[in-house]
Amino acid sequence: MMLEISDLHAGIDGKSILKGLSLSVNAGEVHAIMGPNGAGKSTLGYVLSGRQGYEVTSGSVSFEGRDLLALEAHERAAAGLFLGFQYPVEIPGVSNLNFLRTALNAQRRLRGEAEASGAEFMKLVKRHADDLGLSMDMLKRPVNVGFSGGEKKRNEMVQMAVIGPRLAVLDETDSGLDIDALRVVSEGINRLRAPTRATILITHYQRLLDYVVPDFIHVLVDGRIVRSGGAELAHELEREGYGAIAA
């Protein structure tokens, strides 16, 4: 088992948001988590990645046999967890290339691996940026500053491809994408599918799931998974809405 979330209760500022969430993910699998706005989908992403301010009140999360919740955010990343942000952050004054190289090498250091040389890094970035349709000129600019919604999401996918995580949790990576960008980003996600890796797609549209076909779909409502099924569940949700499923 790559990821095992058991009866997770978590919240922020004393407000409880996740209310007994359990989920198991094996290597090689793609899971989709769907649910209405406010269900707690982003909160799950933040709690898994260790954002400050989120408080876990009970339950446990094990990732590759380790207690994920005991690790700091940067240690979770180095352990192989990647969060694709619903709203990627802008950082004026730090170029995308500097950001990404700092990140890649920090992870490698934490894992006791050799850092990437300048040339190795540039080659890696260029390949993935080409695949995802982001120019190197854009990557020389400050992180996400002046990027359109779609460019920010492509940038998340470039980061993911360069870092090569074991488990990617992608929070609404499909929102704000036009159909061409959706295809490019989906291909990026599919390229990373491998027997050793897993992906959790957080979305509230079924659209993305036509391109990245999940092995499992879970419906998250009010901080709990109320139903799980195969890829076909997406169409049922599309027809009947979350209300009917949750009831």
Binding site: A73, H74, A77, F85, T102, A103
Partner: protein, 371 residues
Amino acid sequence: MSQPLSLDAIGLPGRRHEQWRWTDLSAIDAALAGHANDAAPDPRGWLIDGVAGPVLLFVDGRYCAAGSDPQQLTIETSGGDEAHVLSRLTRGAVGATLRLGAEHATRGPIQLVHVATGGPAHLHHRLSLAVDAQASIVETYVGAPDSWTNVAVDVDLATGARLMRTVRRLGAGGVHTETLHAGVGQGASYMSTSLLAHAENVRIESQARLHGAGAFASLDGILLGRERQTYDVVNRITHDAPGGSSRQTWRSVADDQSTLSFAGKIEVARPAQQTDAEQSVKALLMTRTATVNSKPELEIFADDVKCAHGATVGELSKDALFYLASRGVPPAEARALLTESFISDALATVGEELVRAAVTADAVGWLRGAA
């Protein structure tokens, strides 16, 4: 003049005086009781590698011929400016004198290095550039604990002359005071960038007068404070002639219980139409216990003038810190990266690549040490 024996004897104007209200030079008392260390320091560690050009070394206010390569620079003693409380202490002090014509380009930036090992040291540099002359000067001040370096700098730029000054305050303590007067002639350009760090107390008082039409001045800098360090910068830029422009870009990083203050005044006289003046002052509080002060001041008598000023005080963005953490960057490294980018605006005007790299490395060294 006879040297004062205590801070009281210097007779600083005191906090009720507008220009001195944030000034704290209390570490001067310890410096006045301090003693120079006779072992001559090796200046080479303080030179910027790969920069060709004259080098003048001063140790504790005395010229050190052995470590110098003056080329066209001369050493002269100062008259001191009787009107200024700190500048007048430099009376009789030595300093570099540069009188450069357009025909005498230097081979590279001129480096003036002053090493203070203990006690008070006074210096007076005079930099005057004739019509269309150009020079770049890097001043490196290294201060030990219980030392006080008091520098007066007079700059005179004739028509079309261009001077770039880069000032670095390095070392392990002590006090640094500087009083600058710059006169900028027609179409001439005075640019300075100061990195102020490592001293217990700093006061920099700069007055640039743009007396020729189309003159330009930029007075930029970075203040890095920790512990109980108290730094105080007072700029006054006076536009006296039409079509001049000026820039002030200051970035402060205040840690621990440090206090970093900036007051910048822009004066535009009646004849100085089409003046374009900007001031950007930003401070980063690394802890809630640090203090930053900032005070922009405009005094405008011309009517066709563009003046912009902005001052902000903030903390590092939590969202940016989490974004970096989520990508594997440890907190200390993430803070350093964001802080480096924060100060980089104030280094943009340093022209030579090697000089900018050296100042950046100095700042980064401080930041990484602080993180």
